[in-house]
Amino acid sequence: MTLASSARAVAGRVVGRSGEDPKGSSPPAGRPRRRLRGRAGWFFVAPAAILFLTFFLYPIVATFVMSLQTREMGQMVFVGLDNYERLLTDPVFHTALFNTLLVLFVQVPIMLVLALLLAVLLNSALVKARGGFRVIYFLPAVTSLVAYAIVFRILLHTDAGLINQFLGTLGLAEPDWLNRTWSSRVALMASITWRWTGFNMVIMLAGLQAISNDLYEAAKVDGAGPVDRFLRITIPMMRPILLFAAVLSTIGTLQLFDEPFILTGGGPSNATLTLVYYLYQQGFQSLNFGYASAIAWFIVLLVAVLAFIQFKTIGREDPT
């Protein structure tokens, strides 16, 4: 539960409020009243609770049960941890894991640095038309994943895509983007960066604007240069926001599916196969429900472990 509570604290800070209200509303006047209000509380929460029970708690438990089973002649039979053992030796799964972690450890940091850079620029009083820039940069974040993946598929076309024609005009090499192992990975990561940088930039801009100007003024009086101010004030004050953005990006990366599905079909030879894509192949194309469920639980555990690590590293030394 430490995860949940720090997530609450972080998110509370992100939206600029205390976020903590453990007591709820003021204590009720009398006993019958409390019972009544308890009932009212449940009345408001009940629809969501029933939906969570049916469409979240049941399937997540069912996934775990199924991950201990396999299908034999149309029947699910108990096989213990066999499916998890198979994860250890399945080279395709390892490729999918590698590809997903590659995005996580290469694309996400690049994107977050880029987003922070843009946010700092857009927070500067020297820049004009900041509202306009902010809208433009956020625009990809409301675009359908399938739609933008289709556009990038066309833009990245080897012979006649706009990107290669542009590179050709500059006299540069024209890579066979979507049909080579590494170029397809680069293409996938570039597309994701286009889609999500503005979203993260807006989150970080909110964080920057929440830092009091007095801090910078005081530092200036003490003779701190712009780099010092950025490293000593901006970064520490932005820690919760950076954590929030990192956690969101981690969750997003671990559910990557639409882009590789449309852009490359997971290819060439699984070079852009992601964990969820492999889950889809196993669960809905090969109908290996048990194995797909083991992959699902692996993803859940990976989310939990990564979020935990992020809270421990970025989240430590809370400035507020």
Binding site: R8, A11, V14, G16, R17, G24, S25, S26, R37, G38, R39, A40, F44, V45, P47, A48, L51, F52, F55, F56, I60, A62, M66, L121, N123, A125, L126, V127, K128, A129, R130, F133, L139, V142, S144, L145, V146, A147, I150, V151, R153, L155, G161, Q165, W194, A206, Q209, I211, S212, D214, I251, Q255, I262, V276, L279, G283, F284, A296, V300, V303
Partner: protein
């Protein structure tokens, strides 16, 4: 936050820094004669150069962001051969109507658009009711199990729904819901992020007002929709847009549960065209434009409310 809020205001008149009227790229005006302010002049020059560099960076970034959108518009008016021509067609063509006709013939796109509107619209209406009620209950009421419920909401934000698809699909087929609208709509209407967003905005509503209404004998439901809900209208607007965009763009789940062409949503129909042996990119780009442009227009109209609502009002301007 109050200190910095005016820093966010773009194009604010009378600010020292914006007094630079030089268009980008133009050389800064010659410094005034006399060597008394040489250091000052150098500082101003340095600052001017930095300012131009910042704008150049931002404009390049904005162009990179906008080119794919422009390409959607241009490519939707060309046949496939026109999209992949060397040198590229950078002006709109006259093939838009033919692309629409082809798209309709291949996918029954009118029905597909209807499905998307119906599914995303119903999802949004139910979702707004469920999320705002739950957010209010969690923010302003005490009841047993509240902590568990809040924990579940946060857990659901962390867990991608994709990992639940196998048992959810089996559940749907057991109750005979495969290829129905309700299967596409219901499982994710209790949107965890939406509930959290609403809870955060209800937290700051004063308890005294709720208590006063209770003393006056107002029922709990009446207090909710007559007094509390109108006060969080900006968050509500953000929630509406958030839910609609989520479902309008949702792909994996509709791909799984909607199995025939006349039930497809726009993303599913577009992806089915990508799988064909001869891909009609002109028609696909026209469909992509239909998927992207309405959402963009709605966003542009409400972008202030949407962004500040999503971030709990911490961004202004």
């Amino acid at each position: 936050m109050s200190v910095s809020s005016d820093r966010a205001e773009p194009d604010q008149p009378g600010r020292a820094e914006t007094s630079v009227e030089t268009p980008e790229g133009a050389p800064p005006p010659a410094p005034p004669p006399g060597d008394a302010g040489a250091a000052g002049r150098r500082a101003i020059l340095k600052r001017r150069v930095g300012q131009i560099a910042m704008h150049v960076l931002l404009v390049i970034g904005a162009l990179v962001t906008l080119v794919p959108f422009l390409w959607i518009v241009i490519a939707s008016t060309h046949p496939t051969s026109g999209i992949f021509s060397r040198p590229p067609n950078l002006l709109p063509g006259d093939f838009l109507v033919q692309n629409l006709v082809n798209l309709q013939a291949m996918t029954g796109f009118a029905r597909v658009v209807f499905n998307s509107v119906l599914i995303a619209g119903t999802f949004t209406i139910i979702g707004v009711v469920v999320c705002s009620m739950a957010g209010y209950g969690l923010a302003k009421h005490r009841f047993r199990g509240r902590g568990v419920m809040l924990g579940t909401v946060l857990l659901t934000i962390m867990v991608p729904y994709h990992v639940l698809t196998v048992p959810l699909f089996q559940l749907m087929s057991e109750i005979g819901w495969i290829n129905t609208y309700q299967a596409a709509i219901l499982p994710f209407v209790a949107n965890a992020f939406g509930i959290f967003l609403m809870r955060q905005s209800f937290l700051s509503f004063p308890d005294e007002l709720i208590e006063a209404a209770r003393v006056d004998g107002a029922g709990e439901l009446r207090i909710f929709y007559r007094i509390v809900l109108p006060a969080v209208r900006p968050s509500l607007a953000a929630l509406v847009i958030w839910l609609f965009i989520f479902q309008w763009n949702n792909f994996l789940w509709p791909l799984l549960v909607l199995t025939t062409r006349e039930m497809y949503t726009i993303p599913v129909a577009l992806s089915s065209l990508i799988g064909l042996s001869r891909i009609d990119y002109g028609a696909i780009m026209t469909g992509t434009a239909i998927a992207v442009i309405p959402v963009m227009i709605v966003f542009l109209f409400f972008q202030r409310q949407f962004i500040s609502g999503l971030l709990g009002g911490s961004v202004r301007g």
